[in-house]
């Protein structure tokens, strides 16, 4: 009985994990698309954290420019992960004409790596990242393949089966209570710690994209004006980004003044899409 139990446990684990992997590969979720690969040449690829998700609304960009756009941004994606995802993308797709990087993810802490373990079977870069950030999760993922699918990204992949996740954007608007708190908050005078690994990854990402023939644009999406006005460290931050990337930053952090266009202090909502597109046109980001 013990042998039957252990045999069933491991064989079933591997078999079920393969089934889940096959299911995940059919999803319209952005990372499933990356690892499924294809011949499609995207004109524009966007990458960043949640500010990239909500700041650069792919259907809006497509309509405005007439170009194909793929947004690979994800909540909590730091620059190290962004580099790995984009390089994996380049291994599987023709290089895009333009890469838009939302570079404020240099401020992000590692966190998304473990969630990407459901794609780890397809990427040596991801396996290496996960092992360096969360060695226990990496080993657990070797012991039980089902564990790799124990994350939110897999649930999103299931949600987008037969669908397309590019229309993902915040629908809610920041509330008055939050606005009042932000108005009352003191200004920030100290630059928050920037991950050196993130800054280095930003430099490598820009270099790799250029080497593949991409035009690289570092574009900072809008912040809530009430909050942005309190970031006294901003010029210092821009200088560090430009030095690390070896590229100019297009600073659209103040591009949208309408408070109703924001879901919170960091993220636009659907109402902010059009005003930002206009500013992107005006600033030459959308050529």
């Amino acid at each position: 009985m013990v042998i039957a139990f252990v045999g069933l446990l491991f064989a079933g684990d591997r078999l079920l994990a393969r089934c889940l992997d096959a299911l995940q590969a059919r999803s319209g979720f952005r990372f499933s698309r990356v690892y499924a690969g294809g011949d499609v040449r995207y004109d524009v690829v966007v990458i960043g954290n949640s500010r990239g998700v909500n700041g650069f609304y792919a259907p809006g960009l497509q309509e405005a420019t007439g170009r194909t756009v793929l947004n690979l941004s994800y909540n909590g994606m730091d620059t190290v992960v962004a580099e790995a995802i984009f390089l994996d993308f380049l291994d599987r797709y023709p290089a895009p004409k333009t890469l838009i990087v939302e570079p404020t993810n240099v401020l992000a802490e590692p966190g998304l790596e473990s969630a990407l373990k459901s794609y780890a079977g397809h990427s040596a870069r991801l396996r290496s990242l996960i092992a360096s950030v969360d060695p226990v999760a990496a080993r657990a993922g070797e012991l039980t393949h089902l564990y790799r699918f124990n994350n939110e990204l897999f649930l999103r992949a299931l949600y987008y089966l037969g669908g397309d996740d590019q229309g993902w954007i915040n629908e809610y608007t920041i509330g008055e209570a939050q606005l009042q708190k932000l108005r009352a908050a003191p200004p920030e005078t100290e630059l928050p710690p920037l991950g050196e690994a993130n800054l280095a990854a930003l430099g490598r990402l820009v270099s790799a994209a250029r080497a593949a023939g991409c035009e690289v644009r570092l574009v900072i999406s809008p912040y809530l004006p009430v909050y942005r006005g309190k970031l006294f460290w901003w010029p210092q931050f821009i200088a560090r980004l430009e030095a690390a990337a070896g590229a100019k930053v297009v600073d659209l952090s103040c591009a949208v003044a309408d408070l109703g266009a924001f879901a919170d202090r960091l993220h636009l909502n659907r109402r902010g899409v059009e005003p930002l597109l206009q500013r992107m046109r005006a600033s030459g980001v959308l050529r």
Partner: protein, 475 residues
Amino acid sequence: MLFNSLAFLVFIAAFFPLYVVLKGRARLWLVLAASYLFYGWWDWRFLSLIAISTGVDYLVGRKLDTVEDAVARKRLLVLSVTVNLGLLGVFKYLGFFTASLLAALHAAGWNGRAEPLEIVLPVGISFYTFQTMSYAIDVYRRRIPVERDLLRFACFVGFFPQLVAGPIVRASRLLPQFREDQPIRWANVVHGVQLMLWGYFLKVGMADSLAAFVDQNFAHVDTMPSSSLFLGVLFYAFQIYGDFCGYSLIAIGLGRVLGFDLGVNFDRPYFSRSFSEFWKRWHISLSTWLRDYLYVSLGGNRRGVRKTYRNLMLTMLLGGLWHGAAWTFVVWGALHGCFLVVQRLVGPHWSRLVAALRVPEWLDTVTLQLTVFAFTCLAWVFFRARDFDTAFTLLHRLLTVDGWSLSAVPAKFQVIKGLALIAAVVTLEALSFRVKVSDLVVRRPAVAVATATAVIWAIALFGTFRGDAFIYFQF
């Protein structure tokens, strides 16, 4: 040492072979040493408190065996209760009462400065003090024979599966099991492992998966949308159930593997049709302790209606206070006391109304279950909230019309996963009323293998491995 930790795995891997090999007193010494190692892993200094509780109640028991005089017997009982409640009072409640006194003095206009006491709460103290007190009380009432063997008695008090978070096992159930070597039976191992696996699923699969969303909502009650707060309360009801029932199952299952019967501590409480039924299904070892040693001692329901209500309220108030040194726990207990009183007042009228209207039984059952669940959730708000401000703000937000949009709920995928896990647990528990899974598991190896593998797969696929301690460790 947490049940969901690597240290525990190593501990049990080392303990079990020795337990199988050793017999008689050697086995008892192993159990005691392992139990003290298990407990001392948190803080070795607190072993002295278990030793004090053990020593006092052992000696009280021995003395009660030789003393016939009623006054002297009562004094011995008072000694046991005083020492045990004294330990509890100092380590659990002294800081709380001094802080409350200081707050009251400040409110009355006193301008003096004094820092409230910060005393570390020893893990499990609420459980083992109640366990040893029940022994002394039962010996005093001549319900059980005295235990003359100190080693056996110390094993009863410190038995590691149930030491830190229950169940509170009565001496009448557990002590006799230490009088002879419990054989390792295959059926017990299978059943015990199944209980432990289900316990781990409830804890790391369900409870810990719900925890982050609950924490986020209770930490930001003034800014989270009402729809999210509602889900937060619902999730907490299942987080605390999964956490505590999960721990109990792991403890009971582990005891079963070792050949011990530690009873049942949870019996599908959210299917209760009344609050009295709820307290026969939730934390059964504590509720029966409170019933037998507090409620009955106060007179129970034998001294008229008003005194019955008084006794119910007192029992539940103290039950609330047992859970934590904070007024929110007292209010939680008071709410349950009120629910029990109201149930006694309204119950007979409800039954007559249902009969008069010829309401189908299934509809009556579902209505009652949902009502009990809803009010239980209301009470959980006070249990979980860090202070009254948080609790009342949350309740106020739940009563407002605005903020009920589902699109405003954050972490939607976390919510969907949480709802799916709750639905799965509720469905399986509902099915268990028709099918006795434990019997099937023991009688049919194929069922045992299939259910064990399914639960392990579910833990791998849904478990959240934050290494969270069990909620009831703080009690």
